[in-house]
Amino acid sequence: MTKVSITVNGQAQTADLDPRTLLVEFLREHLRLTGTHVGCDTSQCGACTVHLDGRAVKACTLLAAQADGKSVTTIEGLARGDVLHPMQAAFREHHGLQCGFCTPGMVMTAVALVNGHEGPLSEHDIREGLDGNLCRCTGYQNIVRAIAAGAVGMKA
């Protein structure tokens, strides 16, 4: 067993884990933070995207032990009480989802994309930035629109 201490959405979490435990398993099965989804489980779809010390990473391709001592933000950590994060609000406003399965990963990638980008995001930047996130419903149009609007909202 491996002892890990990870700050998740601002709260210190400590656990004794099988070293094989993936970060996404720790979040979903130990902490019951089931907003982070497992889509493909093969590092391709990005539904499991969370922030590790502010960087967007795929939580299905990271051992929980690798996050020891670090800070993780999940989709549950974005809203401030009842007030949605500007990116969440933009996804709702622009209908950036259909079934919603990919949405937590899309939103987490989008927030990291805006935070890591100086100046305005072009449509090209957004589409390139979403390379690691798959949506099988929308054709991406409304997701791209939502992220463009969310980016403006985040800078406001």
């Binding site: 491996t2 099988d18 070293p19 094989r20 993936l22 489980d41 093969t42 590092s43 391709q44 990005g46 995207t49 590790l52 960087r55 967007a56 990473v57 795929k58 391709t61 990271l62 051992l63 032990a65 690798q66 020891d68 990638t109 990291a112 994309l113 930035g129 390379d131 690691g132």
Partner: protein, 262 residues
């Protein structure tokens, strides 16, 4: 995954001391973790290199850029030092995988794995970079020995790579639109050691193209590449591209890289 012990040493010395028969080093994990998950690989212990400060970071002198083995692709892509000295390398790092992969994957992990479709080997070989391990230094052409094969001895660890600053350099690749792995990628560097052209994705490992190097040394223009054909013999062939198509793409990507500099 099969069960394994997890170790997180704080120094290269401690990491190497933990090496045993079935241990494996964990760098960014973007290949290793999927491989462990599929039970294609079994390890007695995973030695995580993520907490070793001496393996991280980028530094530059007038002549070279040094990149620590555990430096992530996103850090190389965003580094002002790399942009200033070797813009072709920054561009290469910025095109690896996707955003999340670039935020986790590392230089050392990529070159130690030596996937035939990985991008870094082209940059190292074209720039005549030197790989520093915990025991020795190796010119990159001696480091990469074949498909998923390197000169690393069991338990030997990549510490850093020193890239001599070229006069100019560029990278162009034709990507599989889904995986973003290169079908063919060409790195061109005009270096102190002459013109160097290195190809990834097309063959079982990185290789140079002497005919292109000689032609570009005489006249650095995309035009001189037009008459040079790459033999398809021995190139990779799979559901994405035939060997002949890959051979053709090497010429197209080389011309594209040169054109971006002229």
């Amino acid at each position: 995954m099969y069960a394994f012990e997890y170790q997180r040493p704080a120094s290269v010395k401690d990491a190497v001391a933990l090496v045993g028969d079935e241990t494996v080093f964990l760098a960014g994990g973007q290949t290793l973790i999927p491989t462990l998950k599929q039970r294609l690989r079994q390890a007695s212990a995973v030695i995580d290199l993520g907490a070793i400060p001496e393996l991280r970071g980028i530094s530059a002198t007038a002549d070279a850029v040094t990149i620590g083995a555990m430096t992530r692709h996103a850090e190389v892509a965003a580094s002002p030092d790399v942009h200033a000295a070797i813009p072709g390398l920054a561009r290469l790092a910025g095109q690896i995988g996707d955003l999340q992969v670039r935020n986790s994957g590392t230089l050392g992990g990529s070159i130690a794995n030596n996937d035939p479709a990985a991008d870094y080997p082209a940059g190292l070989v074209a720039l005549n970079a030197v790989v520093h391990t915990n025991t020795r230094t190796l010119p990159s052409e001696e480091f990469f020995t074949g498909m998923f094969e390197t000169a690393l001895a069991p338990g030997e660890l990549v510490v850093k790579v020193v890239f001599p600053k070229p006069k100019r350099s560029a990278f162009a690749k034709f990507r599989n639109p889904a995986s973003r792995y290169a079908i063919a990628g060409v790195f061109i560097a005009d270096t102190a050691d002459g013109m160097r052209v290195a190809v990834i994705g097309a063959g079982p490992g990185v290789f140079r193209v002497p005919a292109m190097e000689a032609a570009l040394a005489k006249d650095f223009s995309a035009r001189v590449l037009a008459g040079i054909t790459i033999a398809a013999d021995g190139l990779n062939e799979d559901m994405h591209a035939t060997a002949a198509y890959r051979a053709h793409l090497v010429g197209v990507m080389a011309a594209k890289a040169v054109a971006s500099l002229t």
